[in-house]
Amino acid sequence: MAENKRSPVRELTKGIIKENPTLVMLLGMCPTLAVTTQAMNGIGMGLATTFVLLGSNIVISALRRVIPDKVRIPSFIVIIASFVTLIGFLLEGFVPSLYDSLGIYLTLITVNCIIFGRAEMFASKHGIGVSILDALGMGLGFTLALFLMGSVREILGSGKWMGLTIPLISESPMLLFIMPAGGFFTLGCIIAAVNKIAKRKPPCEVGCSECPHAESCGGRAGDKP
């Protein structure tokens, strides 16, 4: 991860497809499953997360030589939580409907492993410029994944999509898809489809490789086979 030879374009695009945080690296599963009952909520959550990711990456990479190594985790947490509070205010003021539908999951952006993971893996080791690109790419990839999830669940579960009514399905929508169980099912199928398209060997570990605590737990908590 640390090589600096990569082109700026590569830093931007890697998060969208090749290292898509949700569908490939399996990070940030909680918001992916929770808010994607509608495509619009997925986009809103994705953009809010991108905002926080952008802010925290900029600040953390700017302060990377100032923050002592021993207290870096609490420092990152404070920086991330501040940006979450900020986006909470902005949404409450300007887009109250989205604020209401995201509810507690907006607060929980603080503990989204994507943001924490990028801070630890990327922003604390790279300059501001590439960190901005990295944040934009990762945020966009996350937004796309959420939009995809939200679209599938909204179309199948309620027969609507972004305000449009889908014929045939809307007469008897499969309610299960907007229930929690449908979230797990849809995500499982989408990841399987990504595996099939990418002809990639399925990852055996859930997010452990990118987890900021992988070092301290040594992968033990994940019970490697």
Partner: protein
Amino acid sequence: MKTLLVILMSAMLTDNFVLSKFMGICPFLGVSKKLDSASGMGIAVTFVMICATIVTYPIHHGILVPNHLEYFDTVVFILVIALFVQIVETVLKKTIPSLYKSLGVYLPLITTNCAVLGVTVLNIDNGYGFLQSIVSALGAGLGFMLALVIFSGVRRKLEFADIPETFKGVPATLIAASIVSVSFMGFSGLFG
């Protein structure tokens, strides 16, 4: 008394944190391969949830609300949780090394477990009293443990199942989780 029981049971079953609120999915998928690690993680999370609630409740109602600083909730709570996990780790290491050995590996993972931050924020949002908050944290923790333990049993069976190549690994796990979640839907409406 009755309301406390309702809070406990609904936090545990009807509004199960993992299966209907999607909080703590990472440990749910990561640590549920073996029964003993699933129950260890469950106990550690329950313990931290209760302790975090005991600490954050007085901070919110005693310090932040009188000074009109409610919007600092997120920053303060997550710091308290991170600090608390650190303290628990240090104290356990010095006093009960045997317990530390079995729970120690899960403790650093708990800081970024959204279920812990989730339960403290939800307790404030729902306007629970002190005792109610503790009971709701206990229920959330027990529900988390229940989901993990049940799911570790499902995953054991899953290991021997013949799954199509593309569905192997995470996709099959998620679909199994969806079926477990359907079974928890049976509890809805149990405690109006």
